[in-house]
Structures are given as C-alpha cells and as structure tokens.
Amino acid sequence: MYAIDLLDIKKVYKGGVEALKGISLQVEEGDFYALLGPNGAGKSTCIGIISSLVNKTSGSVSVFGFDMDTQLEKAKAQIGLVPQEFNFNQFEPPLQILINQAGYYGIKRHDAVKRAEQYLKQLDLWDKRNQPSRELSGGMKRRLMIARALMHEPRLLILDEPTAGVDIEVRRSMWEFLQEINQQGVTIILTTHYLEEAEMLCRNIGIIDKGCLVENTSMKSLLARLATETYIFDVDPPTHLPSSDYFKIRQTDEVTLEIEVNKAQSLNKVFSELSAQGIRVNSMRNKSNRLEELFIELVEKGNKDA
C-alpha cells in the first residue's frame, strides 16, 4: 500500500504563482523518503497539501488509501507533521503542548500524559517539561515538534527540514531517533537542505524543481549514476603536489588531498601512485557530497531544458 499517492497535483497561489505544475508521486508504506529541491521549488507547498494546510488547485491526494477530498479526517489521523518553522504556542510548556495535541486526536488525557512522558524522555526534554517553550533552545524546539507530531502515533511522519539550525551532535541523535521509528514501521518523508542527511537516512528520493518532480528513484540507483567518486586523504605534509596521469588530484590544505576516482579504476592504483611519490597516507574517507553533485547536476539540467 502507498503511504501517500499524489496524482497530478497543481497549486496556483493568488497572484498566479504556479507552485506545483502537476506532480504525481507515490511513497511506499515503511519508506524513508527524501524530498529535495532548491528554495522555492515547491517542497513545502507539496507537504502543505498532503497535511491539508494548503488547498490544492487540482489533483488528488490519498494517504494510506484515504482520499483527502472524501475522507479528510481519516487521512489526517494517519499523518504527523513537523513543519519547517516553530508553530507551537511559545507561552505553553512542552508537556501541555503535547497533551493538548493528543487531545485534538481524541486521545484521553490519562493516555496522553503517559505518551507525553515517554516522548519527552526519549527526546531529552523531560527536564524542561514545565518550562515555557520560548525558553527552549533551537534544538529543543525542533525535538519538541517531533514529539508533538508523534503523540497520536501516526503511520506517516512528515518532516520539513527538521534539523535546520541544529548542531551536529543533536542532529545525529535526531537521525538515530528517526531511524529507530522508521524501523518500527513509520513511513517518513523528509525534506532537508543537508544532502548528507538525505543520503544517510533515506532509501528513496524525489527531487522537485520549479514545481515539477524532476527525479523519483531509489537513493542507490541515483548515486550509481555518479561516474566518479571523490576521496579525501589525510597525508603527511608532501614536499610537492603529487601528479597523476590517471586521477584528478587537488590539495585542499597542507595535509589534505582530494582525489577523484573513476568507477572503473581501483583504489590500489591510487595508493601505489602516492606511495611511489613518497607520500604517506594516514587516513582516508569518502567526500560526502555525492548526492550534492547529482542534485546540482539535475537542477542545472532542468534549468537548461527550461
């Protein structure tokens, strides 16, 4: 079953801005799906339509088989939304926000209190449960919105840039948490500007640009399109910039080299070339911008086609 099934969704805002130009998209139940696109591409409009915060101009949306035009409340009950901007009452404490939210979904107060305690503890907010939300840090506010979205135990969780402005430590703990709930069966749709985040978490990916879905495929097959991969080598300071007839080498600082390796080539060859030039390799890692390269390539291709 599809968690969401969008069919030819169009959205024209007042003033004639065409935000979505007929998007059709299916996301399988249990998937961890990345929805990417440059600013203003239509990602948030798309998410707004799925979560019923934005009225579509035409097309149809169904969530776990519930049509949003005819079974709106059943469809809404399946979705948990973590929006891009903080949208809770800044004067209310986290515990109260979660209990109220559960109430809107028909969850009894007694059960809501239990669930709120569970999620606040899981997301390290329990100590702040009675503090006005405006006093929370940016990372805590993001986690509070995730806890709020999970209060009614949705089957589909939509996260619109959930880690924006969050430090790397908190971001990684949020990734772990999201992976955990995805493994428990919750379908997740994620928009993010951190492409590394999408690459690390998501199995499938859609790219929206100028209101059109320009790509919709698995992360693996998208990344497989990369002809080359870039590796970063930490080396002892070389006396000269190494040269190679086979590889493109850049020195980014005194002790770091970036080497592009074609898929057909072997890494052994890289090591032997460096060794032959007297360069000692201390460590090596992937440059994690593979998706970024493809993303830029796809968006630029779209621009040229337009």
Binding site: Y13, S52, N87, G103, Y105
Partner: protein, 257 residues
Amino acid sequence: MLNSNYLIALHSILRKETNRFLRIWIQTLVPPVITMSLYFVIFGNLIGSRIGQMNGFDYMSFIVPGLIMMSVITNSYSNVASSFFSAKFQRNVEELLVAPVPNYIIIWGYVGGGVARGLIVGFLVTCVSLFFVDLHIFNIFILILSVLCTSVLFSIGGLLNAIFAKSFDDISIIPTFVLTPLTYLGGVFYSVSLLPGFWQTVSHFNPVFYMINAFRYGFLGIADVSLVWSFTVIGLFIIVLYSIVAILLKKGIGVRS
C-alpha cells in the same frame, strides 16, 4: 474518528482556552472589573443620584444590567479575537488544522473559551455591583438565557474578526469603531423610549439593544420590546455569524494558503 473523540478534542480546546485567560488573569479578569466599578461609582452613585428614576427604577438599578452585559460582550469578543489571532500569528492554529478535528469543534471550542471568560467577568462585575445596589432577579431563566446567547454571539463575532485579521491592529478596529458605539447606543445608560421617534427606530437596528433589553428584563421585569422578538433577533444573528464562520473555515479563508 468517533463522536467521543470529538468530545475529547472539544474538551482539549476548551481547557486550553480557559487556561489561557486564567493564566493571565491580571490582564483578562481584573481590568473589566475595575472599569465597571468606576462606572458604578461615577454614573451610578455620583451622577445617577441626580438623574432620579428611569422606567420606575432608580438610575443605579437601571444601568447595572446594561453594564454587566457590556462587560460580557467586550470580554467574550476580545477573548476569542485575541486568542484565535494569536494562534494564527504564532501559527499554532496549524496544530488544529492538521488534526482530524471538524470545523464545528474548532468553532465551539473557541466560542466556549469566550463564553467562559464573558460569564466569569459578568459574574465578577455582578458581585461588585452588590456593593452599590440591591439586585433583585425577576426571571432567572431569561437572565441566564440572554447572557448566554449574547456571550455566544459575540464570541462568534470575535472569531470572525480574527479569521479576517492580518495584524493586531485589525482585532482592535472592530471593538473600537463598531462594538463600543453599538453597546453605548444600545440602551446601557438610558431607556430608548426617551429618544425621539427617529432615533428610537434607528436603535431597533442595533442588535445590542435587544440583548440589553432581554437581560434587563431578567433583572427588573421591564422591557422596551418584546422578549420573543429580542431572542429571535439574537438567534438570527447567531445563525448568520456562525454560518459565515463555518463557510470561511471550510474554504480555509484566513487560515490556509
């Protein structure tokens, strides 16, 4: 979602709305009580004693029902207008819009909050008025029905205002330029029978006049127009405003993109 779930949702909105104005009681409950106390002292005691009787009652007894109703009207209205607009402004209204809560539950949840504040303020003002006048209740049923209907009507009005409002200025314009004149000209301080014929007719187009008329009847047993007509007008206004609000929310005007 079953009906019991709707009730839980309604209860959650009501609880949130009630907690909101109780948490800031210094801003929401105390000022109207102080303002009305000043009205009692100045218009009732100081000036009223020189005015004499109005429709067979001393002036203080005559204006107390109108002043109580005035506080109920302004507080019911401003509670919903400011609360719903704040929810729009902070975007936490989205919590309700994404949830499987029907629009009528949202409307009655917010209206319930407005009614609660209106009635609490009305009760407090009534208690204060006992320091100035011996209140007698002529018909408790009419009294409760009229204050309840009025509170509901102006809470819906506040919601309508908040739906259209785009800034905090927009939620103060209607109370200042529409609500206050209607209330003052609705017979709080005088009997419309004292007005010249033309202005008496004009007063009959003022909905607040019917509310004060019915409420005053509940206390004093006197009315400028029939109670049936008063409640009919109030009922019609409730139906019309409720329908407008329901249509706006259904279309998403003012709340959805």
